[in-house]
């Protein structure tokens, strides 16, 4: 009797997962951080991909080794995975698609965050500006010289579009962590 296995998200026991790579090269401290997060939430937030093996109900881990290691470290029995019901070579396309989706799985910027950020650039002292990761002393001075920024367009014209976006993300992160 052959049981049909379907692709999809779901829970697997860690004992059902086989890994080919011995250990990830991820920093110990990062694995520990993920492990703590899994303990706190009770589940993993990002999904490793697994595919079929020749053995029944055993799956090969093909992405997210540190998450799997962290789950083991956290002492949970099950982990959420994205199961691709095919063998390793055929799962390649899914890996690429998943990686694209993960890289685009970015924080959304609220309009009010954007407005707060513009105000912040207009008003903050240099020492406060540099408290945002990514705003170095040189840029802080440039920001001060180019003031005022009356609109986001003006900000883009004077400083460019790419750097302010990076700073904005860092700014939102700092702001939210302060509010929390």
């Amino acid at each position: 009797m052959v049981i049909k296995i379907e692709s999809g998200h779901g829970l697997l026991y860690l004992s059902q997962i086989v890994e080919s790579q011995e250990q990830s090269k991820t920093e110990k401290s990062e694995v520990e951080e993920i492990s703590k997060s899994i303990t706190d939430w009770g589940f993993n937030l990002a999904l490793p991909i697994v595919c079929l093996t020749s053995e029944e109900e055993k799956y090969r881990l093909i992405t997210g080794l540190p998450i799997y290691e962290a789950a083991k470290q956290a002492g949970v029995k099950q982990i959420w995975v994205c199961l691709i019901a095919t063998d390793r070579p055929n799962a390649e396309k899914a890996i690429e698609e998943a990686q694209l989706q993960s890289s685009l799985n970015q924080r959304l910027i609220e309009p009010e965050d954007l407005e707060d950020f513009r105000k912040f650039l207009n008003e903050a002292k240099i020492s406060v500006l540099t408290s945002i990761p990514g705003i170095k002393e040189g840029y802080a001075k440039k920001i001060k010289e180019q003031r005022p920024f009356n609109s986001v367009d003006e900000l883009h014209k004077k400083i460019g579009a790419k750097r302010p976006l990076t700073w904005l993300k860092a700014y939102v992160k700092v702001k939210n962590s302060l509010e929390a």
Binding site: M1, I5, E6, H9, G10, L11, Y13, K77, Q78
Partner: protein, 306 residues
């Protein structure tokens, strides 16, 4: 191990009565029987005396009742058996099985058979883990079949009698995919004919199709709560006979009587109850015996055919 599921799409037709009494008849014949209670109402577990029936009867308030219910959280039962990691080295099926059914005291003087129970409770319904398992419906539906074989249970017991919930949940499907044989108790009412026919046709399209006929083979239907002079009963019986394929048998009937209810209240199998009150319950016990005999005979025919 012979696996028999008892399934119906309607509640209240005597599914528990059948599960418990057939199990007892099999145990009396010296077989080791495991009752698997997939029904979240867990009436079989209660009847077989492994679900704190005495304590429930003594409880004097809803609070007390709930305290007893809560105590089920700390024991391992069918839902844990379905979702736990059967491949892990510390998995032991004996942790999930209740071996202290008072029915065994009744069996002891008669034979070396016994009834053990893989009990259920309200917890069966409350657990999402099975639904969240990766791999799709096939994997989720085959958990029980797989666990029975991987754990060694299939080598230890002669019979597994599987009581299923009337509304077909994922847990209930596990019962159908785990059983080789299926029997369908039904009342012989006009609407039941429709229910039974559509149930049997849907099992053919799902369980039997998916397993190449290895699982969920409907041996027959058991007419329950019939009345001697009821014309609807006769009509329903004729209608079923002309609709169902010939290999689906209409088993010996169990007539309507209150003695099954009294036996259940005393938590006794009908045959033991009838020994105490032969004049009243003797007929019911005889019907049950006749059914059990025919069922075993039929299974043996099936197995020599193969």
């Amino acid at each position: 191990m012979r696996t028999i599921a008892i399934h119906t799409s309607k509640g209240g037709v005597g599914k528990t009565t059948l599960t418990v009494n057939l199990s007892y008849e099999l145990a009396k014949r010296g077989h080791k029987v495991l009752v698997i209670d997939l029904d979240d109402q867990a009436n079989s577990s209660l009847y077989l005396g492994v679900n704190k029936a005495d304590e429930f009867e003594r409880s004097k308030s809803i609070d007390e009742f709930e305290r007893i219910l809560k105590s089920f959280e700390s024991r391992k039962e069918i839902i844990d058996f379905l979702v736990d990691d059967t491949d892990s080295t510390d998995f032991d099926y004996r942790n999930y099985i209740k071996t202290d059914s008072p029915f065994n005291e009744l069996i002891k003087p008669i034979s070396s058979g016994r009834i053990d129970v893989l009990p259920g409770s309200y917890r069966t319904k409350a657990n999402d883990t099975l639904a969240q398992t990766a791999g799709g419906g096939g994997i989720k539906q085959h958990r029980l079949y797989r666990a029975l074989h991987k754990s060694g249970i299939a080598d230890v017991y002669d019979y597994a009698i599987i009581d299923t919930p009337p509304n077909l949940t994922m847990v209930g499907s596990n019962g159908l995919y785990a059983c080789r044989y299926l029997i369908v108790p039904t009342q012989m009412e006009y609407f039941s004919v429709y229910g039974v026919t559509s149930l049997i046709s849907s099992i053919a399209k799902t369980v039997q199709f998916d397993t190449d006929g290895q699982r969920g083979n409907v041996l027959g239907i058991v007419p329950m709560m019939t009345e001697a002079k009821n014309r609807v009963n006769k009509f329903a019986s004729q209608l079923l006979r002309q609709t169902l394929p010939i290999e689906i048998e209409i088993f010996p009937e169990i007539k309507r009587t209150t003695h099954f209810a009294h036996a259940a209240k005393d938590r006794l199998p009908i045959s033991a109850f009838a020994e105490r009150k032969p004049r009243d319950a003797g007929q019911a016990a005889e019907q049950l015996l006749k059914l059990a005999n025919r069922l075993i005979e039929r299974i043996e025919q099936e197995e020599t055919k193969r």
